[in-house]
Every structure is written in C-alpha cells, then in structure tokens.
Symmetry: C2
Subunit: 149 residues, 2 copies
DNA sequence: ACTGAAACTCCCGGGAA
DNA sequence: TTCCCGGGAGTTTCAGT
C-alpha cells in the first residue's frame, strides 16, 4: 500500500464513480495504470467494493439505536459475531473498554423493530443486561469511516 | 420514491460502479431511463453520492472509540454539529435518549489521536463530562447503513 | 438512434532485483 | 535475465443528447 494507492483510494472515497482517466489525471498516472492498481486493491481486499451513499430513511430504516451489552464473564468476539450476526437489524458490533462489553448499533423500520432486535440480543447467549440509547437525530455522519462490505 | 427507484438504489448499493445499462437490464429499463432516475435521486438528495468501501486500517485509522457526552442543560443538534464538525476524527454524532445526550464515534490513527479528539470534544462548548469506550475489536460492520456524504 | 468518450486488452519499453 | 510497473493504440462498450 504505497502513497499512490492511498491517493487513488482517497479519490474513490470522494467519488466512487470517478473514471480511471479522471483519477489518473489527479494522481499523475494513465487510465490503464489506475485500473490495474484498483483491480489489485480489490483483489487484495483493501477495497471491498463500491456503493451508493443513500439517505437511510429512503431504505425504510427510520429508527436506530445504540445498545450497550453487559455479559456474564468473558465474551469472545467470535461468539458475539455468531450470536448477533443472525439479527439483520444489527449493523455494527464492537467490543469495547469501559463499562459495557460491547456496543451494538441497530437500525430498524420502526420502534417495534428496535424493540424486537434488543429482545433478540438479550436472548442470545451470555447477555446479562443491555442499555439502549435511541437515536433522536443523527447530527454528523461522515464517509471517513466506510462501513465495510 | 417508487419501487423501481428502490430496485435501482438496491443495485447501486451492491455495486456503486455498475453501468446504467447493467442496472437497466436488471430492473427492466433502458440505460438512459435509469440515468434519468439516478440523476433525479441525486438531485433530490436521496442518493448523496458514491464511494469506495475500504478497510479502515488501510487508511491508517487504526483506533476508534465511542464517546458518550453529557451536557449542561439542553443541547441543540445544530450546536452539536457546529461544535463537533470541526474535529476531523469525529465520524458520527447522534443525539440519543437515555443517560447520555449524544454518542460520538471517533476514529484516529493512534490512541494519542483519540485522546486529543476527546479533549477537543470536552473543550467544545457545553460538554460537562464524557465517557469513552475504546473499541477493542470490531465484530460486525455491515454495509446496510451507508455512512452518508 | 447517434456521437463522443471511456473502458478493456493487448503489446511494448524502462528500471530494479 | 527476469520481473514488475507504467505508457500507448485499437477495439468494444458505455454515457449523454
């Protein structure tokens, strides 16, 4: 991963549909050279793909919440992935330091969907209790952190 | 926002660099027809843009944290956006119900970067105290929630 | 449908191991 | 020499009107 690739990635983050020629002009490479590098990065998994950036409301995901989960004893990330991976509303899971064992980001079409998801989270394995913070308004949401996939 | 547009968006979420013709074949439209619809959705802001999906580590954002912030009195989303928008490491901000007033997602290149960001968050305006949960491992990170921008 | 432009695929040249 | 990487031209496909 050299600086040239970083430049190309930076360009693609700002405009995922930029032409290879356009990128090439920006970084000082020919279009085929850019394509080769992009193909390589895709093959290596450094670029997972390309996606449209969509207002979540458009997709019908109206409500979201952050659920802190507190577990019995130790939690392995693998177990978490296994237990929570089957819940479609679960969009993000990260084990964290501090009070909680993990933070789960949930998105659903309605409050009932959030409730059901939290219920499923509770039911899954070692979860002792949860603490839910429902999002009232999303103030900042930057593309700096691509969500992977 | 009709079903046809939803189909098109769905296709673009899976492949942000799909050609209009390819999308047209999938949804039963001609390429120009697809383009007109996509242009309209972009103009309306339903599609905010297109971006590459990148492994965050590749960009040098090695460490992330969730910072709950507790404020004096009321917090307006606008004020939050103004105060926190200038901190580049701040990737997500959402006002929430529950204990905290808002949850801030921070990504940085190092723990020092996280620390500096939290310091800046504290310094900005009405923040009374913060509670930081550093991410140990990101277990699930789904593309279902496009990150906006 | 038509025009211009971009993508894709060769093959070639130069520099480093 | 061998391998890697970038440049260039021809062909096909796509974008835009």
């Amino acid at each position: 991963m050299d600086d040239l690739n970083r430049l190309i990635v930076g360009y693609l983050l700002r405009d995922g549909r930029a032409t290879f020629q356009e990128i090439g002009d920006a970084v000082g490479l020919s279009a085929p050279a850019v394509k080769r590098r992009v193909d390589l990065m895709r093959a290596r998994g450094e670029i997972a793909g390309f996606t449209a950036v969509v207002d979540p409301h458009v997709l019908g995901w109206e409500i979201e919440a952050y659920v802190e989960i507190f577990c019995h004893g130790n939690v392995s990330p693998d177990a978490l992935a296994r237990d929570l991976g089957t819940i479609p509303e679960v969009v993000e899971v990260a084990t964290v330091t501090g009070d909680a064992d993990a933070i789960v980001h949930v998105m659903a079409a309605s409050m009932a969907g959030i409730e059901a998801s939290v219920e499923r989270i509770r039911a899954s394995g070692r979860v002792e209790r949860t603490r839910t913070s429902v999002v009232m308004s999303r103030v900042i949401d930057r593309p700096a952190r691509p969500t992977g996939g």
